[in-house]
Every structure is written in C-alpha cells, then in structure tokens.
C-alpha cells in the first residue's frame, strides 16, 4: 500500500525521563478501524499522543499519510483527536467549543458554523448545543469530544476510550459511525477496554504490553500464529461423547471437554483445518446432529489473555 495511505511508526521509542513509554515500535497502520489494546500503562495513550503529534518521539520517526508532525498545518488537517480526559475549557457551550476549534483550523465563520452543526448532528447533540459543557452528562461530554474530533473531516480519527460513558444505544450508534468512517477509507484508531466491542468494530488490533507491541494485525491471523496455545473449537451437537471418543484419533487434538449441559464439547487442537476434516467424517459416519461449530477463542479477549494476561500484567 502507498505510504500516503498509511500511518507509519519507524523504530519509535518514547521515554519520560527514565520511565519507558513505548519502545522500538515499528508499525504500518492501514485504513480501517484499528484498536489499541493493552493493560493500564501499556503505552496506548503514548502511542496515540505520538500519532497525533502531541508528543515527540525520543527516537525514531512517525509519518501520518506521509506527513511528518513537523508540518502541523498539513498534519493536523488530516487528524482528529479525541482525548480520554475531560478536556474542555471552562465556561463554553458545546457549540462555541466546536466552533472556536473549527476557527483554529482556519475555516471561515460560515464554514465553521456549518461544520459545527453538522458534527453536532452526527453525534446527536443539536438540542444541547447551546448549553454549557460543564452542565453536560458524561455521555454528552463524550459525544462533544467525538464531534470535536470529526468536525473538520479528518482522514485519521484517533480516539482514546471513545466508548466510555456512553449508554448501550449510543455505543451502538458510535460503533456504526466508526464503521461508516472506515468504509469510506478513513483510519479510525481507537483504544478501548470493552473487548467485545473492540471485536465487533475492529479490522485489526495492536496489542501492547509494557511499552512493546506484542501482537498486530487481523485478530484471526494473530490467533492462528500463536502456536503455543491450541485453538479452542466449540461443537454443539446431540451426542458429544461420541465425537469426543473419536477426535483423539488425531495427534493435534490436545484436550476435549464435554459441555456441562451435555449438548456440546470444547476441543483444543493445534491444527484446526485437520480437525474440521475429521469432524466431518465423524459426523457423517455416526449420523450426529450438529447445531453449530465455532471458534471459542478467536477473539480479542482470548488473544489478550494469552499474550498479556498470562504474564502477570495488570488488569484491563
């Protein structure tokens, strides 16, 4: 892919004095939704601050769509940032807040106004536009932050914990919005602690621990590369004991657990493709009624547990 469509980290390190932020990170992030996952202190916010030019790397170089942070006029035209902090100057209304930020981007009064209303409408905040931000609920503040990030139509949206404080309905709407942005060719970089939503929304995942990238890419791809951890497959069927007794024909199957309700089994295998072939044969030969077959740990949460959770790192 051309470098003007990528966010590139080239051997980037950031130290705060003697404290490590991130270390020797080399990444190429393609358009789509990319989630940053990791425990507290893993380096997610540092990575985002570097990506948005708010921090300078101690070592290495960053280019966003082939533009370095040293060219702020072009750089920030392409980036919309939503910080995780409750970051609003005191006394302003949501409308004035976004309008003044649009003016800082160089839009004329009328253009800034139309962009402000457009952004407020996208996040469902038009009714409360003229109320002071200080009087907003947590969810409303989160929406205003989102509106601030996207009002100037950036090509890269960097959103630190964008789902925090939103009710389930609003979360679904925001996730839908992210998908629309990604489908239109934008980069949407999010950090979130809500794993199942990361799973739903992400095209790819960057997993961080202790300032290092421990995994990167499509979550299924990452999972399949983890050869130390057998893939778990859940089979829902009417006679799980028969399937269980037959799957051990294969050396790659390392563990089988019968589900407590007696209507399924959980198989751990090092070679899922071989297992699916065997399962077909067992089902046909024994006339077993199968309700469903699905991977049980091909998700962000499981990968996170294997890569980060097991080494004693902090909680999410």
């Amino acid at each position: 892919m051309q470098s003007d469509r990528l966010i590139v980290f080239d051997n980037v390190s950031k130290f705060y004095g003697e404290v490590l932020g991130i270390n020797r990170i080399t990444l190429s992030i393609a358009p789509g939704v990319t989630s940053l996952v990791g425990p507290n202190g893993a380096g997610k916010t540092t990575l985002m601050n570097l990506m948005t030019g708010l921090l300078r790397p101690t070592k290495g170089a960053i280019r966003v769509l082939d533009i370095p942070p040293s060219d702020p006029e072009r750089f920030y035209r392409n980036i919309g940032y939503c910080s995780q902090f409750d970051a609003f100057p005191k006394g302003l209304s949501g409308y004035h807040m976004i309008h003044s930020m649009m003016s800082l981007h160089g839009f004329s009064g009328s253009e800034a106004e139309s962009r402000t209303w457009n952004a407020l409408e996208r996040v469902g905040m038009t009714d409360a536009a003229h109320r002071r931000v200080a009087g907003y609920s947590k969810g409303m503040r989160q929406r205003i932050r989102l509106a601030l990030a996207l009002a100037h139509d950036p090509k890269v949206l960097v959103l630190d914990e964008p789902l925090n404080g939103l009710d389930p309905m609003a979360r679904a709407e925001v996730i839908d919005l992210f998908r629309k942005f990604a489908d239109s060719g934008m980069h949407v970089i999010i950090s979130s602690h809500i794993m199942h939503e990361v799973d739903i929304v992400s095209d790819s995942v960057i997993m961080l621990s202790g300032g290092y990238v421990v995994a990167e890419g499509n979550i299924q791809g990452v999972r399949h590369e983890m050869e130390d951890h057998p893939i778990q497959i859940l089979v829902r069927c009417d006679r799980p004991a028969v399937v269980a007794s037959n799957v051990f024909q294969q050396d790659s199957v390392v563990e089988v657990k019968i589900h407590t309700d007696g209507r399924g089994l959980l198989v751990s295998t090092r070679n899922p493709d071989q297992f699916y072939d065997l399962l077909n044969r067992i089902v046909l030969e024994n006339r077993i009624a199968v309700e469903g077959v699905s991977p049980a740990d091909e998700n962000v949460h499981a990968v996170y547990q294997y890569l980060v959770g097991s080494n004693g790192a902090g909680p999410l």
Binding site: E73, S83, F88, S103, L104, F107, K155, S184
Partner: protein, 296 residues
C-alpha cells in the same frame, strides 16, 4: 448510496490566515470581561487617572477662559505639561494596570490546564506560542486601553491645545508612552500567565501575583538595608519600571533631578531586570504548557 460517493473527500475551500488564528483564543475571554459588571467597573476606574490628567491639560490651557467664567484657576500655572507630568501619570498607571492584570490574568490559563484542555488546542494547526500570544492578547488589549492608548490621546490633545512647538520640545514623550507601557504590560502579563499556568486555583494565583509584587519589593528594601546597597531596588518590579519610566520620559536635566535617590543605579539595569523577569516567565510557561499530559 453509489460507491464513488462513499469515498472520502477533503475540504478544498479557502482557509483563514494562519497569522491571526491566535486571536480566536481571546474571543470568549473578551465576552466574559464585558459581561462582568465587576470587570467593567474596574476598567472604568482604571481610566480615572487619565480623566484627571485630561481635565488638568484642558484647564491648564484655558486658565484665562476659566477666569472669564469667574473661576480662578491661576493655581494651575504651577503645573507644567511635560515629561514630568506624564511620568507621574504613568507611574500611577503602573499600579492600576497591575491590579487589572491581577484580576484578569489568573483566570486565563489555569482553567484550561485544570480541565486538561491543552490537547484540544494543540491537536490543531496551532502552536504553544500562539496559545500564549492569544491568552496574552486579552491582557495586553485591556491594559493598553487604560495606558498607552489614552496616553497617546492626551499627547495629541495637548499638541492640539499647545501647538506643534510643544510637541517638538517634548517629542520623547511619544515613544516613552509606547515603549514603556508595552514593556510594563508585557512583563506583568507574562508573570500573570506564568502564575496562572503553575497555580491552577485562581484566587491563589491572584494572591501569588500580589505576593510577587509586594514581597519582592519588601525583599529588595531589606536587601538594600542589610547590604548597604541599592541593587536590591532591582527586585522591586515597580521601582525597576520607575527607573525605565524616568529614563524614557525625562530629558537630561529633569533626569538628574528625578533620579537623585537612585543615582547609584544606572537606568538600564531596570530594563535588564524587567527583561530577565519576562524571560523567567517565558521559561515557566514553556515548562508548564505542554500538549500532552505526561503521567510519570
């Protein structure tokens, strides 16, 4: 929707000049100032010294006319409208402008830092320097309106009343008003902003500003007394500015008379002292105003 319409398209319309974008920052600060009766009242009071000076200039030029109205204003003849007159006015304004800055300054940066708003500003095509200039422009505009702007107006009125020859004889007053005011306003504005950045609680920041002003003056006096020197005077911001005012406003003869108590202190040391304070305030601002919050 057609697929081609779903492709991201960028804004390609005109943009405003980068140079003046920092002026967006004070927009809402001015609204706050104008909406507050307290600030408006303080601003009007700050103009009183200039109003008194205006009346003196006017009556001084119309002593005979006042006599015609039965008002004996001959006593005003002892007042000379010259550098000495203006220096007294601006020494008063030194204190008045300081009080106004102490009212407005602490509320400018502290709320942004307390609310972690710096990433909001600085994740735009907008630098830290522009942010500080934007905030400082609030103080500089308000204090300019009570110092050099009416000062220049008084100079013009006196020129109109006394003639161009007066203006020629007292020409140094014009640059003195401008340069002196700007130096003083810049100094106190930078101190106020630095304190606003370091002390997030507004009343404490205001108290600290007064503290710096009066405690440094006291410290300077004690230093002079203990060490039998005059260099302690440089710790007193108002005295340092007083030295600069005298240097700028007064001609050589007036200067010798007026600087008698400070004769051991060269005037440029006052200027150096204020420039040093400005530099220190800038370092403190650069230290505190950072785009991202760093958790160590």
């Amino acid at each position: 929707m057609a697929v081609y319409k779903r492709t991201y398209t960028r804004y390609s319309g005109p943009l405003t000049s980068e140079r003046w974008r920092c002026m967006i920052i004070p927009r809402y600060a001015f609204q706050t100032v104008l909406a507050s009766r307290f600030y408006t009242g303080a601003f009007v009071l700050a103009l009183v010294p200039h109003l008194i000076a205006l009346l003196l200039i006017y009556f001084r030029s119309h002593i005979d006319a006042l006599g015609g109205l039965g008002i004996d204003a001959r006593g005003l003849q002892i007042i000379s409208i010259n550098g000495g007159f203006f220096i007294n006015l601006f020494i008063v304004e030194t204190f008045v402008s300081f009080f106004l800055v102490a009212l407005l300054g602490p509320g400018l940066i502290a709320p942004d830092l307390a609310n972690n708003a710096m990433p909001l500003y600085l994740s735009r095509p907008f630098s830290r320097a522009e942010y500080v200039i934007g905030k400082m422009s609030v103080l500089l505009t308000v204090t300019s309106l009570i110092t050099w702007v009416p000062g220049l107006l008084l100079f013009s009125i006196q020129t109109a009343l006394a003639g161009l020859s007066w203006s020629w004889d007292n020409f140094r007053i014009l640059p003195a008003i401008l340069l002196g005011s700007l130096l003083w306003l810049l100094t106190i504005s930078l101190i106020a902003l630095a304190l606003s950045a370091w002390v997030k609680w507004r009343p404490v920041a205001a108290a600290a500003l007064f503290g710096i002003f009066f405690v440094s003056a006291g410290f300077g006096t004690v230093t002079n007394a203990l060490l039998l020197t005059r260099w302690g005077t440089l710790l007193n911001l108002a005295s340092a500015m007083g030295m600069v005012w005298r240097w700028l406003f007064l001609n050589e003869m007036q200067y010798r008379v007026a600087t008698f108590p400070f004769e051991t202190m060269p005037s440029w040391t006052g200027l150096v002292s204020l420039v040093f304070v400005c530099g220190l305030a800038l370092v403190l601002l650069a230290w505190k105003i950072r785009p991202a919050q760093v958790v160590r």
